[in-house]
């Protein structure tokens, strides 16, 4: 997209739009998150219905598109209850604490470029609210604050199921944040910057003329392993199935939001989808090339469209995983986080550093072979464990220390 630096709106004189880009980006990112939540909830219900061979929403609006709006209106008219003995302040603040970090984290997310015609010639500018030097750390900081909303909701409601949900949320967030952070450090190491625009810029271009130079395709497959670690940790961070232990309805009623009704419940619901959109946006920027086109001949399409397409593809993966996989047992969830993901992420980080330092691709291949061999060995051990009649699979053994 190319625009002029000075525009004239009616009687108002020429306005320099370059300083206005951050504000326009702010409106765009908040608008995108809040509006697409409506669409994404509809999408999730349609995807689940397709997987489970049923019709899904089909009454309100064309193809049920207005179902989410109908649900919002219904929730708006529900009675707003507060359980007796609830901690009043925390109970009221908790939904906001889920929502605010999700919206604020969009501030350092670059979602495209815009070319501005200046006197010095055309100049590409990133579409981002605040292009800060520690952009990815800012997003990680807000993601780590988001768990307070869940924990406080669980604690303040004065309900044992809520409390259990909140405790699980805290333990799970801490465990998977580690693996996620190590994977993010790998991306930072590959890109050589903490600034998200620099990370995305580094992924422009194509290997052999067709394979996009995204982080997930770099370092001879190690980038792909780190990407998968980030994606798994991302699902766990947003408390989505199969990692939705904080709200496991088969054992905890509705987990941390059992006692919430009306719009407070709606805010938890929307906050979950908003944080899903944000972590998908971060995944796009870190691993899948941000606003860059996947193939050279598709570069004529504006970058922000590619960004939205990639975010929606990751959201679809979220829903697909939810429809496909059963919920994990709690000790297995902890064991996977601490005993599989963190060691794997550390090995990948060290291997990427070694390949980078010695310029030796053989290290990457050796690491990948070792990872595959270790997975086969662990799988074989787990299968032997179940065949001998033991109820505990290998992922559950000795998990008491981690939980």
């Amino acid at each position: 997209m190319v625009i002029d630096q000075y525009v004239r709106i009616g009687p108002i004189g020429p306005i320099d739009i370059v300083p206005l880009i951050p504000y326009a980006s702010m409106l765009a990112i908040i608008g995108f998150i809040l509006i697409s939540v409506v669409f994404v909830i509809w999408m999730e219900r349609v995807v689940l219905a397709l997987v489970q061979n049923r019709l899904g929403p089909n009454r309100v609006g064309p193809r049920g598109l207005l179902q989410s709006i109908a649900d919002a209106i219904k929730l708006f008219f529900k009675e707003d209850t507060r359980p007796a003995g609830a901690d009043r302040t925390c109970y009221y603040v908790a939904p906001a604490l889920v929502m605010i970090p999700a919206l604020a984290a969009g501030a350092t997310l670059p979602f495209g470029t815009i070319t501005v015609r200046t006197e010095a010639g055309p100049q590409p500018l990133p579409l981002i609210v605040g292009d800060v030097n520690v952009g990815i750390l800012f997003i990680l900081a807000l993601a780590s604050l988001q768990v307070y909303g869940t924990v406080l909701a669980g604690w303040s409601a004065n309900n044992k199921y809520s409390l259990l949900g909140g405790l699980r949320a805290a333990a799970q967030a801490i465990s998977y944040e580690l693996a996620m952070s190590i994977a993010v450090v790998t991306a930072v190491l590959i890109a050589g910057s903490l600034q998200l625009t620099a990370i995305v810029d580094q992924q422009s271009g194509y290997i052999w003329g067709w394979l996009p130079n995204w982080t997930c395709f770099q370092f001879y497959g190690l980038g792909m392993v780190a990407t998968l670690i980030y994606l798994v940790a991302m699902v766990a961070e947003t408390n989505r199935a199969p990692f939705d232990m904080p709200e496991a309805e088969s054992e905890l009623v509705a987990g941390f939001h059992t006692e919430y009704s009306s719009m407070k419940f709606a805010i938890f619901f929307v906050g979950e989808y908003a944080s899903m959109l944000v972590v998908s946006g971060v995944a796009t920027a870190l691993w899948f090339g941000g606003w860059h086109a996947p193939l050279p001949f598709l570069q004529f399409i504006p970058g922000w469209i590619w960004f939205v397409v990639k975010v929606m593809a990751i959201m679809l993966t979220f829903m697909w995983i939810r429809a496909s996989l059963p919920r994990l047992r709690y000790d297995a969830l902890m064991a996977i986080g601490w005993k599989r993901m963190i060691p794997l992420a550390t090995v990948v980080l060290l291997a990427v550093a070694a390949v980078d330092a010695f310029n030796a691709p053989v290290i990457a291949l050796a690491t990948l072979a070792a990872i595959v061999a270790a997975s086969f060995w662990l799988g074989w051990r787990a299968q032997r464990g179940t065949r001998s009649g033991s109820p505990h699979t290998v992922t559950a053994q000795g998990a008491g220390g981690a939980g």
């Binding site: 901690d87 925390c90 800060v132 030097n133 520690v134 750390l137 800012f138 990680l140 900081a141 807000l142 993601a143 780590s144 604050l145 768990v147 307070y148 924990v151 406080l152 669980g154 604690w155 409390l163 909140g166 405790l167 805290a170 333990a171 967030a173 801490i174 944040e177 903490l194 220390g401």
Partner: protein, 173 residues
């Protein structure tokens, strides 16, 4: 009064108020939450000093990780009964007030000394780039600067802590 002074006044007041609330609250969860607020306000104060990297790390490590663990432990032990936690001894109060006053004196002394040093040598350029991750990394790992040793020593200290935790938690290795 400039805008910066107003911002500093607001943040300083908030940080002091939240710090006092940590001690005053009877409910341990409320105390922990006040401490979280305090840490976040301190991070914003770092930001006004253009130390963006330190601010982000402050939130990630202290507000995001350590305080979640605090809160987790408080909730797990369910320390909701304030009567059981009430301090009965007089000695703690006296010692606490004395320590607080001496700390205040130390801070005031440091403030007077730094006020006597005159204006800082920071330029606009050094303010803009001094707080970035690159600048801190260069400063810490530049050959010839003495920070390597302290850095490695800190990692050894953390390792000792981890080993200690494992030994304490696992009776049988």
């Amino acid at each position: 009064m400039s805008a910066q002074m107003v911002l500093f006044a607001v943040l300083a007041t908030l940080s002091v108020v939240t710090a006092i609330l940590v001690v005053v609250h009877r409910n341990p969860v409320r105390s922990a939450l006040s401490l979280v607020c305090n840490l976040i306000v301190l991070a914003v104060l770092y930001l006004t000093l253009s130390a963006q990297f330190v601010a982000a790390i402050q939130i990630i490590v202290y507000a995001g990780a350590i305080m979640v663990l605090f809160l987790f432990t408080v909730m797990l032990l369910n320390l909701g009964a304030p009567e059981a936690l009430r301090e009965t001894g007089r000695v703690q109060g006296v010692v606490g007030v004395a320590l607080g006053l001496s700390f205040l004196a130390a801070i005031l002394g440091a403030g007077t000394i730094s006020a006597g040093l005159g204006p800082s040598a920071a330029t606009e350029e050094s303010l803009r780039t001094g707080g970035t991750a690159e600048a801190i990394g260069r400063h810490m790992f530049e050959p010839g600067l003495p920070w390597h040793f302290a850095f490695e020593l800190t990692s050894v200290l953390l390792l000792v802590g981890i080993v200690g935790a494992v030994v304490l938690a696992k009776r049988r290795l």
